[in-house]
């Protein structure tokens, strides 16, 4: 057989199965979190909502259909409430669920480091007590800036309970949409997005700016927000710094007792405005300080929370000169040094003046006289008993009075809300009662429910 001649063009032979195919692709989009590695980083809940919106599905549906598979275990059971859980601020916390969700979303999107959108990196270092707020808050100016950039997101910072101001724009955070939200419709639902009201679907950035008079935040609020923002922007969150051992707070406090209070833990407790036994429990590692306490410590030591969590004891040397101030801080003078007769007449005069208006407790009396309440009890036991009895009677009377007044007040507020076309929910009523009622607790649920029922019935 003769050989053929032909041009040098390639005649590549391949089989259908041998074609180059794409390696496995991520199931969800590779959506980059906003404000990554900064103090103004996005929260995991906000990220999840944006991811679901990018895929044009409801966040609850995505949680139930896709994330549950990744999480496995309990999430696969029919009773698992991932549909609602995906909107809860608790997802931004430091619990196991946060870690599981972050891990699942990392697998689904192939974005690395999503756990830093939660407080999970601080798990074991801080307590979850008092860490997260129980409702959504936001800075309208930050949201507006985000919208102008094309990506509006909710910051993790806003979900910290102690943070009440935006450190960037120095305004108070807004807690409720004031756009006159209509009742939730059954046929349509508002879009779940970081920049929209979850009740009425109104834009929180634009509408809030018109309806709410943005107040400048107080210096203290800004200071607290700045301390938390510094923590969020620290290397602890970025995974670049690792805490020493399991309990850096214990190391830090022990060092503080030695350096500042010269070994006297009671002095340091007074310096920090704490109970001595509470400080001892922290030092012994029995439990971790609540987050607000950490902020308070950071303010007193004039350092960052990250310094405390990494046991950065160098800063304590600067504070060692405060020992003299600590010693001056003794708040009471022993009563024995005073003349009891003069004190008695003084106390009787004070009680006569104040009792019709308000009842003083023994501590209040001691504070006004500049003496220790325990000392009053020792030196003037009969008068101390009388003060205690009067105060107790006043408290009882106040409770009875409140029981009578509160339902009327609740009904009034509920009627107002119904008249405005709003459903009198617990949160709305709490918002209206702010300043009028000292404590609006969930224990008064029955009174609240009765007022709401009555107001709605009246309207119908």
């Amino acid at each position: 057989m003769t050989a053929l001649t032909f041009s040098s063009e390639k005649y590549e032979i391949y089989r259908v199965g041998e074609e180059l195919t794409l390696p496995p692709r991520s199931r969800l989009y590779r959506l980059e979190p906003e404000g990554f590695d900064s103090a103004f980083r996005e929260g995991l809940v906000s990220y999840f909502e944006r991811l679901a919106n990018a895929h044009f599905v409801l966040p609850g549906v995505m949680a139930k259909s896709i994330v549950a598979e990744q999480i496995g275990g309990m999430a696969m059971s029919p009773g698992w409430d991932g549909k609602n859980y995906c909107h809860q601020i608790a997802l931004n916390g430091l619990g196991k669920e946060s870690v599981k969700w972050a891990g699942a979303l990392e697998n689904l999107t192939s974005v690395v480091g999503l756990s830093s959108l939660t407080f999970a990196p601080l798990s074991g270092l801080i307590s979850s007590r008092g860490l997260l707020a129980n409702h959504r808050r936001w800075c309208p100016i930050c949201l507006q800036e985000g919208e102008q950039r094309g990506v509006a997101y909710r910051q993790l910072l806003w979900d910290v309970a102690c943070v009440e101001a935006c450190p960037k724009h120095r305004v108070n955070l807004v807690e409720q949409c004031k756009c006159g939200a209509a009742k939730r419709s059954r046929s349509r639902a508002p879009k779940w997005a970081p920049n929209l009201c979850i009740v009425c679907g109104a834009g929180l950035a634009t509408i809030q700016k018109e309806a709410v008079n943005l107040e400048n935040a107080s210096h203290k609020r800004i200071q607290i927000a700045q301390i938390v923002a510094d923590l969020l922007g620290s290397n602890l969150f970025n995974g670049k710094a690792h805490p020493i051992g399991r309990s850096p707070i214990v190391i830090f406090l022990k060092e503080a007792i030695e350096t500042i209070a010269k070994g006297n833990s009671a002095l340091l407790a007074r310096y920090l405005g704490l109970n001595k036994s509470l400080l001892c429990e922290w030092v012994q590692g029995k439990h971790l300080p609540a987050f607000p306490r950490l902020i308070s410590m950071a303010m007193t030591f004039e350092c960052g929370i990250a310094d405390i969590l990494t046991a950065e004891t160098k800063i304590l040397v600067e504070r060692s000169r405060d020992i003299e101030m600590i010693q001056r801080l003794r708040p009471t003078t022993p009563l024995q040094t005073l003349r009891p007769r003069v004190v008695r007449s003084e106390v009787e005069r004070m009680l006569a003046e104040t009792l019709p208006i308000d009842a003083l407790s023994l501590s209040d009396v001691g504070r006004r006289l500049g003496v220790d309440s325990t000392s009053i009890r020792k030196v003037l036991p009969d008068l101390a008993d009388e003060i205690v009895q009067r105060h107790r009677a006043w408290l009882t009377e106040r409770v009875v009075r409140r029981k009578e007044e509160r339902p009327v007040l609740y009904l009034e507020v509920a009627r107002q809300l119904v008249a405005e076309g709003l459903r009198p929910t617990y949160r709305r009523m709490a918002e209206r009662l702010k300043g009028r009622v000292g404590v609006f607790t969930i224990y008064e649920k029955e009174a609240f429910k009765a007022a709401r029922r009555l107001a709605i019935e009246e309207e119908i």
Partner: protein
């Protein structure tokens, strides 16, 4: 430059396979069916396609045309392979990146094109999850609302999600195979809407949309002047018997294909190359099918080759004439529109015509022109 290749030699199959009349024969045939060849015309067309897809080349809508059985689907697979190889590094670093999507625009059997089914197919190719749960977002009184159809996703919601998926997955090329199904049997209004839907996908996200089909696709699409101006035509032509280079390339392709026959005892078929080129209208896809048919017959007869086996596998004369007619007419029709085939000489008659009338001959509005009926 020329080079020599070793003469044809077929492989010795496993005797056990030959003995097993049912399973063995089937396996040998199936094995041969999986073989694909990248012949010179494939490489040439791929290069043109690559050039036509460059951003600065203007149009984002490309028609890849060729006669029936020329191997358009195989070319599309080669295209996919090429794009994946070109973006290898990006694909490895970004696991959400899907540079190319190939979808068959299948006929749904309905009067109108089934966009829902089409979007679902594109969505699957883009790894889009929960295609039956897509929501529609709408704004009323400055508020954004979301509505979910309890029976499944609406077409609008699907469309929105697919457009976003193309953007998010950074898809550069969307290939629609058998694209003629998109437009067949549609009314003029539907046709316009469908074309503009494709144009919108292409323009909004900068994705190159390649419509693959035979010449009747060109007849439909070019009836809209606005679209015709923006479209690029890439021709995947057959090997013509009147072109010497084509005759040579066809013979070499045949030789390469016969070298991979799973059995021995078949004579060198290149001596029938000229006749096979006529019988297959110069289409390699048809040639491959003919060879497969021949192999099947040979194996059924116990592995002994006879001329009847080859002749039995050929298309009928009527079929050949029909394909040839379609190919010739199609080639004639698109001769002035094919990408990278423009010459100054071809504009001569245009100059004469403009001189006579004083205005462009293409001044009839698109709506007044009648859409040709596709058989």
């Amino acid at each position: 430059m020329t080079m020599t290749i070793p003469p044809f030699e077929s492989k010795n199959p496993d005797p056990a396979l030959l003995e097993d009349k049912d399973q063995g024969t089937e396996r040998l045939i199936t094995d041969y069916e999986t073989i694909r060849i990248r012949h010179p015309r494939v490489n040439h067309t791929l290069q043109i396609l690559k050039r036509s897809m460059r951003k600065r080349s203007g149009a984002n809508l490309i028609l890849l045309l060729g006669p029936t059985g020329v191997g358009k689907s195989t070319l599309v697979n080669s295209m996919k392979k090429m794009v994946i190889e070109d973006n290898k590094q990006k694909i490895l670093t970004d696991s959400s990146f899907i540079p190319i999507v190939v979808v068959d625009a299948i006929a749904s059997g309905e009067r109108r094109f089934a966009w829902r089914s089409f979007y679902e197919r594109v969505g699957n190719a883009l790894h889009e999850p929960l295609l039956d749960q897509k929501c529609e977002t709408w704004v009323r009184d400055g508020r954004e609302w979301i509505s979910k159809n309890p029976k499944g996703s609406t077409v609008a919601a699907l469309r929105d999600s697919i457009e976003t998926a193309i953007k998010r997955r950074r898809t550069e090329i969307l290939i629609l195979d058998e694209a003629v199904h998109l437009f067949r049997n549609t009314s003029f209004l539907d046709f316009e809407a469908e074309l503009h839907a494709l144009k919108s996908i292409s323009n909004t996200f900068g994705v190159v949309v390649v419509l693959v089909g035979s010449y009747d696709l060109f007849r439909i699409v070019s009836s809209d002047a606005q679209i015709a101006r923006r479209i690029k035509v890439v021709h995947f032509s057959r090997y013509r018997p009147d072109v010497e280079e084509d005759v040579k390339a066809f013979r070499n392709t045949l030789n390469e294909l016969q070298r991979h026959f799973p059995i021995h005892g078949i004579p060198d078929l290149t001596k029938f190359s000229d006749r096979l080129q006529i019988a297959t209208v110069g289409c390699i896809g048809t040639l491959k099918e003919t060879l497969e048919g021949m192999l099947e017959r040979v194996l059924e007869d116990g592995g002994e080759w006879r001329m009847e086996h080859l002749e039995g596998a050929l298309l009928t004369k009527q079929q050949i004439l029909t394909i040839q007619k379609e190919a010739l007419e199609g080639e004639e029709e698109i001769s002035n529109c094919v990408f990278e085939t423009g010459t100054f000489d071809s504009l001569d008659d245009l100059l004469i015509r403009q001189g006579r009338t004083g205005k462009s001959f293409n001044s009839v509005p698109a709506r007044q022109r009648k859409k040709p009926k596709v058989v």
